[in-house]
């Protein structure tokens, strides 16, 4: 038995690791780095928006000549920053953090498994993600710069763009491969490796959210893979799948065989990208559910309802993609269908959010740092969701499409929504991963300014959007309606830089807590789920003895029990 749990050597342990915990940490650190990088790109863009044409302070002199002119940003560079900000945040930041890091680390522990079902496949997923990330980043140093056609890479603009777009497509193929392998691994792990007694309705809600997310990744990503292959053919082999006849580029008619369709790209892209939106939010909801149940000290209200809503939401997310395309002239029949499904899909999201809200009712709530972030998630996600309704209906979308309103809407979901959920997860599971607790005071200094600045960034965007400011403008003050709301733009920019400052306590806390001597308790949050049943940090193979599960995941404050929590792995006195 001792040999079966032998600790692997240095390379196997840290670089070519097959242990899900190490891979989870690799994903987490890489993704946090990418997130910070993607955020930095946005801080540069906010300078151009707030002070158009003025030299960027400090950094302006350091950037390459093809990026800045005497310190002031060039339009091409602005476009690269925009496209890469979106790509990095979505595909290299949030998804790897939510699925790769939290999913990898927590799911096998919560279901009582020794590891993922395919440990080497897991390692390859991380490597593919890492290579894809490097390809994406290296494209900044190409002669024509990085991809600059938006994170959506709409044709025909992306087809005739510079080499950076080819790198974007190749990088994307790697990121897609990584997600596909990961998704297969998660599904098999959750179905096959649950501990004895861990029936499906005893799974923590977080595991359910990862299971549905994995199915979305598995079935939605291939569409973008197909689209990437076709666009690569257009760019490299001279086909014209996405090039319409009669397209004039630089005064010359582009060669096209006839019958090429730019709309085809949009259909394929959004067939992926709408389920992708749920990939961004579901793991966040899962983390918030865990943290809320733990800190309200009572069971989640309507656990089964939440699970069924989650399944319905996952299923329906494949039937709403064209609500991104009302303005393409695809016709009223199509628009009617997709606005109907879009209205329907809002129902399960509202059910989940309502269940989480009602879970708070009548509880004696504890307010540690993860709970603050989890509680802030609820209204922030609520704002994001409700502002989405006008976009889901074709008529108001005519006015709001491609304005800052859209930016404000989905950032409310992923920034103060998902990213806050990620912070909740980091503060919540940090004692499990490192054996040390994060400092609560620094955590509060991190939380309150972050909440303030998040709203300072995104709330003004709603008004800018309603005023008609387009999301892709290099210099919004060239238009009178942009000039009129320039004060709001300034507020947004200053809040973005403030948000960066607000992350300093987090970064200090993160590294300082890791090194401090004082150890955390074995189960500092008095939680019920299986990840707290093993040593901290968990050894290779996770559990000394395979755990047995006796009850549901949220048995808090059970009447008559000795303590206010009954862990899943402890048999209650009969």
């Amino acid at each position: 038995m001792s040999e079966a749990h032998a600790e692997p050597g240095f390379w196997r342990k840290y670089v070519f690791a097959t242990d899900h915990k190490t891979i989870g940490i690799q994903y987490g650190l890489t993704a946090l780095t990418f997130l910070f990088f993607g955020f930095s790109l946005m801080m540069l863009m906010r300078w151009q928006l707030a002070y158009p044409g003025e030299a960027i302070p400090i950094l302006g002199g350091l950037l390459r000549d093809s990026w800045v002119d005497q310190g002031a940003m060039l339009p091409d560079f602005y476009n690269q920053l925009g496209a890469m900000h979106g790509t990095i945040m979505v595909f290299m930041g949030i998804v790897p953090l939510a699925v790769g890091a939290f999913g990898n680390y927590v799911v096998p522990l919560q279901i009582g498994a020794p590891d993922m079902a395919f440990p080497r496949l897991n390692m390859m997923s991380y490597q593919a993600f890492f290579i894809g990330g490097l390809v994406m980043l290296s494209s900044f140093f190409l002669p024509g710069g990085a991809a600059s056609s938006g994170w959506t890479s709409y044709a025909p603009l992306a087809v005739i763009a510079t080499t950076g777009q080819t790198f974007w497509l190749v990088g994307m193929v790697f990121l897609i491969a990584s997600s596909l392998l990961g998704a297969i691994n998660f599904i098999v792990t959750i179905i096959h490796l649950r501990a004895e007694g861990m029936s499906f309705f005893r799974l923590p809600f977080f595991v359910w959210s990862q299971l549905v997310t994995a199915f979305l990744l598995l079935l939605a990503f291939p569409a973008l893979n197909a689209a990437a292959v076709l666009q690569l053919m257009d760019r490299l082999a001279g086909t014209s799948f996405f090039l319409p006849s009669g397209l004039v580029v630089g005064g010359e008619q582009a060669a096209a065989a006839g019958g090429g369709s730019p709309l085809l790209w949009q259909h394929l892209f959004w067939f992926l990208a709408h389920p992708e939106v749920y990939v961004l939010i579901l793991p966040g909801m899962g983390i918030v559910a865990e943290v809320i149940a733990n800190n309200t000290r009572k069971p989640l209200w309507g656990y089964r309802t939440m699970v069924y809503s989650l399944l319905f939401l996952g299923f329906l997310s494949f039937g709403v993609w064209a609500h991104h395309m009302y303005l393409t002239g695809m016709g009223t029949t199509m628009s009617t269908f997709f606005q109907t499904t879009t209205m329907i899909i809002s129902i399960p999201s509202v059910i989940i959010l309502t269940c989480l809200l009602i879970s708070l009712w009548g509880a004696s709530i504890r307010f540690p740092v993860p709970m603050l972030f989890a509680l802030a998630f609820l209204p922030m996600f609520g704002i994001g969701g409700l502002t989405g309704l006008p976009l889901g209906l074709a008529l108001p979308d005519l006015h709001l499409h491609d304005t800052y309103y859209v930016i404000g809407h989905f950032h409310y979901i992923v920034a103060p929504g998902t990213i806050f959920a990620m912070f909740a997860g980091i503060y919540h599971w940090f004692p499990k991963i490192t054996g040390r607790s994060m400092n609560a005071t620094l955590g509060r200094i991190h939380f309150w300014p972050s909440l303030l600045f998040m709203n300072g960034i995104f709330m003004p965007m709603m008004f800018e959007g309603m005023a008609g400011v387009s999301r892709r403008l290099f210099d919004p003050t060239t238009y009178a309606h942009g000039e009129a709301v320039h004060g709001l733009t300034m507020l947004s920019s200053w809040s973005a830089w403030g948000l960066a400052l607000a992350q300093i306590p987090f970064i200090i806390n993160f590294f300082w807590s890791m090194r401090k001597k004082e150890k955390a308790e074995e189960n500092p949050w008095q939680a019920t789920t299986l990840e707290w049943a093993t040593a901290t940090p968990p050894p290779h193979g996770n559990f000394a003895e395979p755990p047995v599960v006796y009850c549901g995941p949220y048995e808090y404050s059970v009447p008559g029990a000795e303590r206010d929590f009954c862990p899943q792995y402890v048999k209650q006195g009969v």
């Binding site: 998704a183 490796l193 079935l219 292959v229 001279g238 086909t239 014209s240 065989a257 006839g258 019958g259």
Partner: protein, 210 residues
């Protein structure tokens, strides 16, 4: 290899009735269905949006139905030998397995060689995926799709051949100690091979006959 023992590698799980590897390959094939499904959908959308005179039938575009039929038969035969090789393992006959499995690899190579000659004939007639190249005689989205779809399918065949070669030359080493595990691996390779075969069964009529 990780020293941690992961259950259900060899024995089927009571809930699903399959091993982890087999469940994994079914999920992978589900995502492959979505990949080729997206490409077939693109075919439909591009064809519907194209003028009829821009969309030749397969024969008009110079595809040879007899050669295509021959290749279809080659792939079907390779799937049959695949099943036979797995059945041989089930009966404990390693020699028969090697002959049948080698036959699958050989037939896969025949398919690719024939495909290569078909491509060569196209190129010599000035038919390329591209438009706007000086040497292209008759640009059409049909030709572009033909090269893209058969090319992607060809990559799948090639990957299958490489994996099968590895199993035949090196993977077979575990047969002595863990015959059940190896038989499971051959079944998984077989499922993938049948899927690749099936894609061609759809590609052939779509490109050559319609």
């Amino acid at each position: 290899m990780s020293s941690v023992v992961i259950p259900y590698r060899v024995k089927p799980h009571p809930l699903t009735g399959v091993t982890s590897g087999k469940l994994g390959i079914w999920l992978f094939l589900a995502s492959e269905v979505m990949l080729f499904g997206a490409l077939f959908s693109s075919y439909v959308l591009l064809r519907v949006g194209s003028l009829p005179e821009h969309w030749p039938s397969g024969v008009e575009a110079g595809l040879s139905v007899p050669i295509g039929t021959f290749n279809t038969l080659v792939l079907i035969a390779s799937s049959v030998t695949m099943v036979m090789s797995w059945a041989s393992l089930k009966m404990g006959n390693l020699g028969a397995f090697k002959r049948y499995f080698g036959g699958t690899i050989g037939l896969g190579l025949v398919f690719l060689v024939v495909k290569g000659f078909e491509y060569g004939a196209k190129f010599s007639h000035g038919i390329f995926p591209a438009v706007g190249w000086p040497e292209v005689s008759d640009p059409s989205t049909f030709n572009a799709l033909y090269f893209t779809l058969t090319g992607l399918h060809g990559v799948h065949v090639l990957l299958g051949i490489l994996v099968n070669l590895w199993l035949l030359l090196f993977g077979v080493a575990i047969w002595k100690t863990e015959p059940e595990w190896f038989t499971g691996r051959i079944e998984i390779a077989g499922l993938y091979w049948h899927f690749v075969d099936l894609v061609w069964i759809f590609l052939f009529p779509t490109l050559y006959l319609l």
